[in-house]
Symmetry: C2
Subunit: 179 residues, 2 copies
């Protein structure tokens, strides 16, 4: 039970992995892993221990098919998406409810507790973070034009969120206000 053939919605990592396969065409689990490992977001480590079992799961559910290939001496497997895989992936992607979710932003989490941080340390922290964001480190290179655009939009978004929040704090100084 639990999963007759394809059951259950995809997790975010599964959706991203399937997306990579659909974009790249037949590719090795290693390639998927490397994509995550070298991506600018460090949230997904792209460890072998995560990706190989994940691929096996998707194959078992009939969303991916694997074909061994030994043309080079290397023992490689090329995986590609099945029609069921594409369908499940599309359903995952167009889930607006999940898309609208705030997800998980380390900056937002920290700002949420900012009133507990001594003013000077807070200011130093905000300045340092703003600096890193402004540098726009680790922008992904890609042949796809929208990928760097997406990176840029989000980097700018977070930088301006930080600036806006810092400004708000300056206007309403914590403690010893007169209201």
């Amino acid at each position: 039970m639990r999963q007759g053939v394809s059951r259950q919605r995809l997790t975010e990592l599964e959706g991203a992995a399937l997306g990579h396969v659909l974009r790249a065409g037949a590719c090795t689990p290693y390639a998927i892993k490397e994509t995550f490992r070298t991506s600018p977001a460090r949230f997904w480590s792209g460890s072998a221990g995560a990706v190989y079992p994940l691929v096996r799961r998707l194959v078992a559910r009939g969303l991916l098919v694997a074909k061994p290939d030994k043309r080079d001496g290397r023992a490689r497997r090329f995986v590609s998406a099945t029609p069921a895989g594409r369908t499940a992936w599309l359903a995952w992607l167009v889930d607006a409810d999940r898309a609208a979710d705030f997800g998980f932003d380390p900056l937002r989490t920290r700002l949420f507790y900012s009133e507990l941080v001594p003013p000077r340390r807070l200011r130093a922290f905000l300045a340092e973070t703003a600096g890193i964001l402004a540098a726009g480190t680790r922008a992904p290179q890609s042949e796809l034009p929208h990928v760097p655009v997406l990176h840029a939009v989000w980097a700018r978004l977070r930088a301006s969120a930080l600036a806006e929040f810092a400004e708000t704090m300056d206007k309403k100084p914590r403690r010893r206000g007169r209201g």
Copy 2:
């Protein structure tokens, strides 16, 4: 080995839990759990199976102390942060490297693969997501003035990021472009 007294950096969830305790003062693990469970971000489910062991870990590391309280018939434990807990928490919060990380945004992940989605479904998806974001559902109520501000800022910026990205896509239609 592994952790003499407090060793290792805090995870995001541990940081948030400690933050809650520092803000609220002595409180029950249940209160911590409920805070996560009812928070607007569904990313942290706030399950008992996550929070109770987490609190036990923090107590074991000397970052929290627990005091049983049976004044009501109920068997409750009140936890509060130790000085070491506060120090570890501050170090966690002012880590600008982690703060600058993109974290994990379900919308961004999906837009990343948007060129693989049939145009009509993509448009419908973007419209639906924009609607949910605009409605600003599940805004947190709080006595702290900056909490709803933070929520509002992030919701607005994500909505405008979505709009900006959709606009870019319209300008450069995928496939059958002429250049």
